[in-house]
């Protein structure tokens, strides 16, 4: 019964939190309204989103978010230095094809978004069978290191979240 009423507890919880963020005040009425949204929206949209991936370890999401935020700050400074202090001819951009172990569309979307949001790399395109992702790197002397970073920092953690 409980699993039928709340098929996706994480999604429901996220919706309740987003509702509180939108109204910006904590009252009992908002808790009831937010819970109603949190229960109704997953049920109403279930038909349009089949095969939702199960999330194995929810706490890993927080770890992943913190690591990505930290990397964004570090990479921002690095890219700012490249833009400000390197001559245009010295900037060596690279295409880096990254083989993927992730299989679910949602997990690949998260990885592609992460690659784009960390400055210095932009995910440009997937291969037709979703087995590799094409990354454009603004400046690097060692493309293999960028590839290694993406595989070990981001993809390994996403594999734990989306088994």
């Amino acid at each position: 019964m409980l699993t039928r009423l709340v098929p996706h507890p994480l999604l429901s919880l996220t919706l309740i939190l987003v509702w509180f963020g939108l109204v910006n005040t904590f009252t009992l009425g908002n808790l009831i309204l937010g819970t109603a949204f949190g229960l109704a929206i997953p049920m109403l949209t279930a038909a349009y989103w089949p095969d939702r991936p199960a999330i194995a370890r929810p706490l890993k999401i927080a770890e992943y978010a913190l690591i990505v935020l930290w990397d964004i700050v570090v990479a921002n400074v690095q890219v700012a230095m490249i833009i400000l202090f390197r001559r245009e001819a010295e900037i060596r951009s690279h295409w880096i094809p990254v083989p993927l172990e992730l299989t679910s569309a949602e997990a690949i979307t998260v990885l592609a978004g992460t690659i784009t949001m960390t400055p210095g790399t932009v995910s440009a395109m997937l291969s037709a069978d979703c087995n590799s992702i094409l990354v454009h790197c603004l400046h690097t002397d060692d493309p293999d290191k960028v590839l290694h970073d993406i595989k070990t920092r981001y993809e390994r953690r996403l594999l734990e979240i989306f088994p």
Binding site: S93, P97, P99, A105, V122, A128
Partner: protein
């Protein structure tokens, strides 16, 4: 509002201003479309992030309540900005580059702009 809060708000605004400026300068300086794409992804992260942190500190010092609208703005930016960047990158690839200018994909199928997907989709 006390001095510490004012100082923190000013510092966050200056940091965001610097990164916003560097992002715009990069847009001018870099020559290729895909290199230029890196500049605005910076402006949306630390540039906007600094303004949002300043806003949270300001409203906390001013009213005493923690405002969480800024966290939602960050969330929505992180959800939408990569999609725009991907649209621009893909359009550029489809219009201006040929497949032999890109490295090979590591799988059996080529990049999705040039190659058709397999008959049965793998993830359904």
């Amino acid at each position: 509002m006390n001095f510490v809060a004012e100082f923190l708000v000013s510092a966050a605004l200056i940091v965001s201003g610097i990164f916003g400026f560097v992002g715009s300068y990069g847009l001018l300086k870099l020559k290729h479309t895909l290199q230029r794409l890196h500049a605005p992804t910076k402006a949306t992260t630390l540039g906007v992030g600094g303004v949002l942190i300043a806003s949270m500190i300001f409203f906390y010092a001013d009213t005493g309540h923690i405002s969480v609208h800024e966290l939602l703005i960050t969330l929505f930016l992180f959800l939408t900005a990569p999609i725009t960047a991907n649209f621009i990158a893909k359009t550029h690839l489809a219009r201006n580059l040929r497949r032999n200018e890109l490295p090979e994909s590591t799988g059996d199928f080529g990049w999705s702009v040039y190659d058709d997907p397999p008959e049965t989709r793998l993830d359904t």
